[in-house]
């Protein structure tokens, strides 16, 4: 590939950055309009001091904890719901009536039950991740070709083995769709959770990228800091998604 072609994706972002810089230099009160040059400087400081990576890592740990717990639960429940009609019929109304309730609406309960640390944040994340995961698990298990299950039965394979050798791999592509959506909303809701938990604790107690943003807003109105956090969140989200996709590519070789 030649250089011009390689640089093409960066042309538009670079232009927008220049426009932003010019516009910010024209605006009068500097504290209402962040300046790219300042954002860059702040970003460098936050990375060099280790504050930003540490906050992102803290949040990422909470996301993974919440996601892993709730994905495991969604996998078991979703499979049971799809495979056994009575289970599905009884659980579906409950799940569907909880689904529209925003994760952040559970914050008061989360704080009352778990305090303001990691468990509360992970609980919110797990709640958010649960729904895309279970909906896609049910869909994945239901959309398996019944002919494949019949084929396995005629080969004399037992029910539990069929679950492991036919249902699970058959549902895998949909499980990955669920995981990507779930990690997306999990990462979105960790910011909200930490922002709010931070508000209650008054800073310092729980950490994480959400709280870092809250501190910049509440104590110093540091716009550049907030922008740096936003960029950090975006980059990590992108890395998570690419990671899941790479895992998917590796685990589903028959779809390549």
């Amino acid at each position: 590939m030649n250089l011009a072609l390689r640089l093409r994706p960066f042309v538009l972002p670079a232009l927008l950055l220049i426009l932003w810089q010019l516009a910010a230099m024209q605006a009068a009160p500097a504290d209402r309009m962040p300046v790219p040059a300042d954002v860059l400087a702040t970003g460098w400081t936050l990375i060099a001091s280790g504050e930003l990576p540490l906050a992102l890592l803290q949040s990422l740990q909470r996301v993974m904890l919440g996601f892993a717990t709730s994905a495991a639960l969604a996998l078991v429940l979703g499979t049971a719901m799809a495979a056994y009609r009575p289970v599905g019929r009884n659980l579906d109304p409950i799940i569907e009536s909880f689904r529209p309730i925003a994760p952040i609406a559970l914050l008061p309960l989360a704080i009352l039950w778990f305090g303001t640390g990691t468990p509360a944040a992970a609980f919110i994340v797990g709640y958010a991740a649960f729904f895309p995961m279970i909906v896609n698990t049910i869909h994945g298990v239901r959309s398996i070709d019944p002919g494949l299950i019949r084929a396995a039965r005629t080969l004399g394979v037992g029910r539990l083995t069929i679950l492991r050798t036919v249902v699970l791999p058959g549902a895998l592509p949909n499980l990955f769709v669920g995981a990507r959506l779930a990690l997306g909303v999990a990462w979105t809701s960790i910011i909200a959770a930490e922002l709010a938990v931070g508000a209650k604790a008054g800073g310092g107690a729980s950490g994480g990228i959400g709280q870092m943003m809250f501190v910049f807003y509440a104590y110093s109105v540091d716009l550049s800091g907030i922008i740096v956090c936003m960029i950090g969140v975006g980059v990590v989200a992108l890395l998570i998604d690419r990671g899941v996709r790479a895992l998917e590519y590796w685990m589903i070789p028959w779809k390549r």
Binding site: G147, R150, T154, L155, G156, L172, W254
Partner: protein
Amino acid sequence: MEALDQAAPKIRLDGISKEYIVPRTGQRTLAIADVSLDIVQGEFLCIVGPSGCGKSTILNMIAGLAEPSAGTVAMDGAPIRAPGSERGVVFQDYALFPWKTVRENIEFGPRFRSDARLGAAERDKLVRHYIDLVSLTGAEHKYPHELSGGMRQRCAFARALANEPEVLLMDEPFAALDAQTRLILQEELLRIWGEDLPRAERKTVIFITHGIDEAVFLADRVAVMSNHPGRIKTVMDIDLPRPRRESLRATSEFQTLADEIWQLIRREAYEATIDRR
């Protein structure tokens, strides 16, 4: 040809009927009415009949995937209630596991069945044997979507054989293939089944087909079915010599038998084509 009626039946269909209730209207439909048939060890039986006569339903009942509304289906005298590894099935759409390679598909039964699973070494030997038998050597690490229709068919056939069933049930296995491939695979099927073996060592095969020529070429007996409800009209002996080769199709004996069967189902085949229910 050895007499078919001397031995105890391998599979016995005794007065089986199948009734469906249409969920929306509650209307009862009799799909199969009072079918009785004995199939002996080592026999190659073809079932032909017009679309919708319940051929596949009969096969599913022998496989243990469906239950008759009345009557019994038995193997070696014991009623069939569920699928089992002693009855292998080759499905019309092959039903290969898309996430498994040719090799993994073929070893699926011996590896995962509930009883008498084989260890890795034994499995390897067995799978190699069947891959060679169906001429899939070199394709063992391909996924089903990378194979041609004929190769998929052979893979499905090998998967059923590798589980070493006593009875092989085949549901229009060549229907989705082009005419040339079908002719080649018919001869291959007879070779693999073991036309030169004594009857006691052959597998019992029940083969469903639309193709009258196919049935005459393959079978020891052809059961001709009629429609609405599905019944067995006649069972014809096909006294053509084995091993059978391509040239057999041009003989007058072959043509006479095929024509006889065609005359039996002709009127109903027309009805099924024109008056689709």
